[in-house]
């Protein structure tokens, strides 16, 4: 098996799939990195659920404003063509099906598209944020997994989630360090596979039966 994809490699792979002109919500953490890999010929409009369309990159040091932050509470900028609005309008956009793609992290994803990404066992006070709204409302829900297999060896792509759900049957696509998978009515379909990894090896790391696309694309980690 070749070196698995880095989080940046995964972000670059996701960015490739975003169509020009898409309205995209990037979840807190790893999904945020996707913004850095958008091809320069493609204009996607980033939505931040705290009331911003046209989110730009982090400001130069010293130019931060406490009034201009993203959903992760980090300072950001606004691009030309952006807009501000209040929280009810922002989630009306989400719930109303106006966001093309919501990209999120996950603890577990099931073969039927069930997603668990908000609550861990033994956690103290629960906190949900906007994840349940995003998965219920966006036209497409894509999940990024930095490691397809947890540090304890347990697969994160499973037949059935054991953790509390964020939403049932909501995930459309999964991007991991080893593969890209689509959630289809017939189960998981692998469209991209890490170079040097064979189908059986991937299947051993996934707790649900896989199908492989005839022209499965090979993924290669970047040199860096």
């Amino acid at each position: 098996m070749s070196k698995p994809l880095s989080p940046d490699d995964i972000a670059a792979r996701v960015a490739e799939d975003l169509p020009d002109g898409a309205y995209v919500n990037l979840g807190i953490g790893m999904p945020m990195r996707v913004a850095e890999f958008l091809p320069p010929d493609r204009e996607c409009v980033l939505h931040s659920e705290n009331g911003l369309l046209g989110m730009g990159p982090a400001p130069a040091p010293g130019a931060e404003s406490p009034d201009l932050i993203n959903a992760g509470k980090q300072p950001v900028t606004v691009l030309a063509g952006g807009a501000f609005f209040h929280h009810a309008d922002s989630f009306a956009m989400i719930r109303g099906g106006h966001i093309d793609v919501s990209i999120l992290g996950a603890y577990q994803v099931a073969a039927n598209g069930d997603l668990a990404n908000w609550a861990l066992p033994g956690a103290k006070a629960p906190a949900v944020g906007g994840a349940m709204d995003l998965v219920a409302g966006a036209k497409q829900v894509w999940v990024m997994l930095a490691q397809q297999v947890g540090k304890d060896g347990a697969p994160r792509i499973v037949e059935r989630c054991s953790l509390p759900l964020t939403g049932p049957a909501c995930v459309d696509r999964i991007y991991t360090d080893l593969a890209v998978l689509e959630v289809t009515p017939d189960g998981l379909l692998v469209t991209d596979l890490l170079e040097g990894l064979c189908e059986a090896e991937l299947q051993a790391k996934v707790g649900a039966p896989l199908r492989f696309a005839p022209a499965c694309r090979r993924l290669r980690a970047s040199a860096a």
């Binding site: 020009d20 002109g21 309205y23 204009e43 409009v45 939505h47 369309l53 046209g54 606004v78 030309a80 063509g81 952006g82 807009a83 501000f84 609005f85 989630f91 009306a92 956009m93 989400i94 719930r95 109303g96 099906g97 106006h98 966001i99 219920a136 409302g137």
Partner: protein
């Protein structure tokens, strides 16, 4: 690059995938303010059949919505106040049994559209409880008061009239010509905007309709 500005009305209509027989069309405007007159008149020329129109009024004189009604393309209209000075085309067609009418209280109409745009399939409202317009609708009590359940309205195409717009589709409106336009813009599969003036950028604090809701725009002058 995102650029929602069209050069011609013909281009705009030809590129819209949701203008078809049986389509539900939402048209902004209240009285004569903020009515997408050019779009309505262009659609009258398409020869479509069996359209449903959602609009606060039902047109006046022979322009705008009245012309579209005259074309025979519309078989059903959902509105709060169809009769008004000069609503002769509406009246002719309604009296002749050519036009089905659903009368909806104005605020319920606005809220049903807002719900359609916001992914809310149904809500409860006190409006119309105990009246003929609630006949056959589910009634439910919350905290000792009665409410009527209303369903969301979504359209195939929304037609709006705006004051300014930029290439991303961000729109502003002129005074009370705002009315139903921003709400309808959110509630359709395709939103077509006639815009008085294109501008380079609508400042982000001044945007009333964010471009996410707008699919194409035509500059129509003041």
């Amino acid at each position: 690059m995102i650029d929602k500005r069209c050069r011609t009305l013909a281009d705009m209509l030809a590129q819209c995938p949701d203008l078809h027989d049986g389509a539900v069309l939402l048209a902004g405007g209240f009285g004569d303010a903020g009515v997408p007159v050019l779009l309505l008149e262009a659609i009258a020329e398409l020869g479509l059949k069996d359209l449903t129109m959602v609009s606060n009024n039902a047109g006046a004189g022979e322009r705008g919505l009245a012309r579209l009604l005259r074309s025979g393309s519309v078989s059903r209209i959902i509105c709060s106040f169809p009769r008004s000075a000069g609503s002769v085309v509406f009246e002719e067609r309604y009296d002749a049994g050519l036009l089905a009418l659903e009368v909806v209280p104005q605020g319920t109409l606005a809220e049903r559209l807002r719900a359609g745009g916001a992914g809310i399939p149904a809500f409860y409202t006190p409006t119309a409880y105990g009246t003929e317009l609630a006949a056959g609708k589910e009634v439910r009590e919350f905290d000792g008061r009665h409410y009527v359940m209303e369903r969301a309205i979504r359209g195939d195409v929304a037609l709006v009239h705006a004051a300014t717009g930029d290439r991303w589709g961000n729109l502003t409106y002129a005074m009370t010509a705002r009315n139903f336009n921003p709400v309808m813009a959110t509630a359709a599969r395709s939103t077509l905007a006639e815009v008085r003036h294109f501008v380079d950028v609508v400042p982000p604090e001044l945007v009333v309709t964010p471009g996410i809701f707008v699919h194409s725009m035509l500059e129509v002058g003041a």
